[in-house]
Structures are given as C-alpha cells and as structure tokens.
Symmetry: C2
Subunit: 321 residues, 2 copies
C-alpha cells in the first residue's frame, strides 16, 4: 500500500529535522517545487510531525522517537552528514537509510592539506618572526616525496589521495573492502594496521565509526608510528583512544595531531587536548553540513526518490556505512 501511495503522488511528506538549519533546508526544497515540506528544530516538533512523514531528512536526530512514534509511513531516512553511526541502530528496519556521499571529499581534503602544509611550512614560526621584524631565512619542509597514509578509501579518502598526488607524495591506503586498492601505491587491510602505519609521515583517518573501527588508533598502533609522524582525524573521534594519544604525545611520540572530531563533542574544557602544544583542535568543521554544500545532494536524492530511481548513499546496515 505504501508503495502505491508513493507511486500515486510525486509529492511525499518530507520532514526536515536540524537543530539550527531546518528552515533553511525547507526553504531550499520549496524553492525546488516540493510542497509538503515540514521542518522541526526541537524534539517536540519532531515528535508531532514524524508519524506523517514518508521521508525524513535529519541531522542530530533524537533517535528515541523512532520507537516512541508510529513510523509505519516512514520509507526513507536521509542523514544530512557522511557518518550515520548515531542512526544506524535506530532507524526502523522497513525504511531505507542513506547518507551523504561524494559531497564532503573536496572540503575535507582542503582541511587536511591546509594543516599538513601549515605544519610543513612552519607558518607559525614565520608569523612569530614577523612580529619581531626578524628576517631569518630558513628552509621550510615539504610534502613532496613524503609518505601519506589514508585510512578509509571512500569518497573522502579518495579526494585526499587525489590531492596528495598533486603534491608528489607517496600514498598508502588502508580499507576494509580493498575495492580501490589500485588508487594507492600500497594497500593494506585492517589486519595490517601496524605494517600500514610503520613508514608513514602522515596518517589521515577518514574512516566511518563502526564496531570494527572503534579505538583502532590505540597505544599499540600509535607506538608503531614514527615519532615524528603527524596524525589527522577527520573521521570520527572514537577511532582514536584519546587517553593513549595524550600519554604518548606527552612522552614526545607523534609530532602533531590535527583533530576535528573527538570521543565526546563538544570537547570538554577539561580535556588536556586543548592545551597541548602540538595538538590542533577544530570544532568538527572540516565538512560543514550546511544547505549550500549538502543541498545539492539532497535535491538530487529526492529527485531520485520521486522518480523511483536508486537512491545514492544507501547504508549497508551490517557494515554501518
């Protein structure tokens, strides 16, 4: 019956949930011809509107509503981010869960290379010297011919690989499926983490958070890394055991850590990460889920839904991404 409903109308009921930007997304959809668009920015609003929704587009959704409400009408849940670890166990089994793919790669890779180059060029030092009006030429470092490891070769990891090529880096990759092993100079599977990290100058984490990836960067793996290597996490915080990272970095291991994601967000003011000299903390901004960047993807996927074409970014609930 629900199939019939979706077929008989090209205008599904769409609920948009986003604590900050629900209206902006709703306006975008309306401008593109969708009439039955409802926005919610609070739990109470969402609880009211969810039972009538056939499509849910959401960001930081209060997932307990999936069991509290009657969600039999719900056909499709679209996460407005690339990661769905907060949704994957709660979305009703009869609905399709999708995530944003192929949208964040360029943005995240710009973040990654901004910080890799910032560190290599030692911009901080030259900024300091400028305040002293000190003309002290000293050669910076370079990315060329250094070795970059990318853990996760999805759409984000691939974009990191692509830019690394233009900087003439050696590029190693680790992935669970190995389907894109041909894009990197050496490919490793998850049973080879130690071998993977051993020769890296830079390790970039773009992995999703799953049971298999949680805490993969622990004391053991960190100790396998070169003391002067740099780690960048743009995946999910719990990939790294923060206590292990802090302990090893305090002992002088690992040259720098660039962290956009954390075990708990916002990062607690108690966290030692804030004030460690070689730790670069950013507040989960490497890939902002904003209408301008995510909107194109949502509109594309909505069009596919209405036209009954295959959706993009369908999550495999077993794998969790």
């Amino acid at each position: 019956m629900k199939g019939t409903v979706a077929l008989s109308t090209s205008q599904p009921n769409i609920l948009i949930y986003d604590p900050n930007q629900a209206r902006a997304y709703a306006d975008l959809l309306r401008r593109h011809g969708y009439h039955f668009v409802f926005s919610a920015s609070t739990r109470a609003e969402a609880k009211n509107l969810l039972p009538n929704a056939e499509v849910l587009l959401c960001w930081k959704f209060p997932v307990e509503l999936f069991s509290e409400c009657d969600v039999t009408a719900l056909q499709w849940v679209q996460s407005m981010g690339a990661g769905v670890n907060d949704l994957v166990e709660y979305v009703p089994k009869h609905a399709t869960l999708t995530r944003v793919v192929d949208q964040f790669g360029g943005q995240i890779a710009e973040y990654v290379f901004a910080y890799l180059l910032y560190l290599a060029q030692d911009i901080d030092r030259f900024r300091q010297r400028q305040t002293q009006k000190a003309w002290e030429p000293q050669a910076p470092g370079y990315l060329a011919h250094r070795t970059l490891g990318v853990a996760g070769l999805g759409s984000i990891g691939q974009e990191v690989v692509r830019k690394a090529r233009s900087f003439d880096m050696n590029v190693y990759g680790l992935s669970f499926t190995g389907t894109r092993a041909d894009r990197v100079d050496r490919h490793y599977f998850p049973d080879m983490w130690s071998e993977f990290v051993r020769n890296l100058d830079y390790l970039v984490l773009t992995l999703p958070l799953t049971k298999e990836t949680q805490a993969v960067i622990n004391r053991n793996i960190l100790q396998s890394m070169k003391p002067e290597s740099v780690i960048v996490n743009v995946g999910r915080g719990p990939l790294i055991v923060e206590a292990d990272l802090v302990e090893l970095m305090r002992a002088g291991h690992i040259r720098a850590a660039v962290l956009d994601v954390f075990e708990k967000e916002p990062l607690s003011t108690d966290s030692p990460l804030w004030s460690m000299p070689n730790v670069y903390v950013t507040p989960h901004i490497a890939a902002p889920s904003v209408p301008s960047s995510v909107g194109i993807f949502l509109l594309d996927n909505l069009h596919r839904y209405v036209a009954r074409q295959g959706l993009l970014g369908v999550v495999n609930l077993e794998l969790g991404y």
Copy 2:
C-alpha cells in the same frame, strides 16, 4: 683555443661562489668526481679565483668582478637560483648564462598553497579559539570553484596551475609568450593586465624581474582587483610597487598579501609591511637555493657541459630569463 681546452679535458676549472654554502656545493661536486673545484664565499676569494675559472656557479655574486678581472677563460655562468636579474647585465657576452629551471616549481607551489589554504581555512582564528577552549563551529572557506590567476607560466607557474587543478579552482594565466596558454582556462597577454586581474580571487606572481615586469603591480592594477582578493608574490619584489600596495591595503582594498620577496631584501625594519595585519612576510624562503634541492640540477648541467650537450636553463639575454 678555449673550445679546444674544453674538448681536451673533461675536467674544467669550476669556481663556486656562495656567501654561505660554497663549501657544501664544492663537496657535493667532488663527491661526484669533479677534481678542479674551487670555492669562494667572500669577494676577495672570488677575485683571486675568477680569472682561472672556466665555469662559475654562483649565488649573490659580486658582479663588478666581471669587469675588474680578466674573465676571458670564463665559458659558462650558472646561477644557483631561478632568477637572474642581478646577473644578466654583467655576465661577459662571450659566456653562456644559465639559471635553475624545473627545480623550484614544486617547492614554491607548496608555499603558495600553504598560505592560500591557511587563509581560506582561517587557521589563525581556530588557533585563537583553541587557546580559549572555545568550541565554536563555523564553516571555513574553500579554494574549490574560486578563481586563481597565475602571472608567469614557466616551470614554477605551471606547478601552481597543476596543484590548483587538484583543488578544482578556475585557473587563469598571464604570460608573455603564450606558449602554455592551453594549460589555463583563460589566457591573457601583458597588454591585458587589468582584464586579467579583474575577476581573480587569488593572484600569484611567478614572473621574472625584467624591464617589462618591473612595477607591473601598481596602483592602477591593484585598483582593478577585487577588494577581497588575495595577492601572493613568489617572483621578485620589484614586480609590486610596495608603496601603492601599502596605501591601498590601508584603505581596505585587497584582503591579504603574502610576500616572500621585496623591493629591497632583507626587508627593512622600517617597512610598514612587517606590521600590517593582513600582510604575511616571509624572508625569501619559498624556494631555498640549498645543495639538496639545487645540487641535482647543477650536477645534471655540469654533466651536460662536460659531455658538450645543450645546457638547461640558458638565459635569453634580450628577454632576461
């Protein structure tokens, strides 16, 4: 007769002049089998040794020695840098002048993109917020789909173009010959400076210093640029009229200037550039002329000289590069 000498021996007298690194270069050459290698790091040493030199490899050479000494034996002068504006008028006409080519592109392009990404990602702001333990997500800016103009499409400019492509930028170029116009989305000749800069978000100068390029970035051209555009100079300082740049930036025109080269170097402590908030001063380090990077080129060109093959980087004395 001199030709006969060069033919009869594969071991020319080589003088290396460099105020700081002459010995390091000399050691490098000796390790590669050259026996008649002489190093000078002062004017007096150079004056003693120059009359016997068939080959001069030099950096910041006291050019008056070309007229003070008998240089009839001198066949070849190799600049250890990419720019030869300090040499081109002084090297004796019977000698060949060469410059380093194809060595600095990667390094200079890393410098350029380090600063472009540093500004786009607003790393300074996030570093500030980290000191305050402030979790304040705010989307950074991006290079993708912005327009980069490269003035000068030699080996350095081409490398900037290549990396800009990997960041999905629109790339415009200005060059005197137009031989590489096909590498950019739009190409301009020097009679179209105003049109070239008008729509740029980023202007990168990789031009040599010649009579034609001196002071090309003057009040008129700066005023043609978008107020929020960024200018990066990795060519030579006198391409820009510094007084005009200072005046216009003080009036809020031009978002940032990243300057590695200056009208006079070292930059005087009197210069207002040091303390302007949107000016980034580095002490001519974008392409360090150090043995590790330049040595490979010198050895290659020396081998060509001895083998009587065509030298790389021969300077056209009319064009000045």
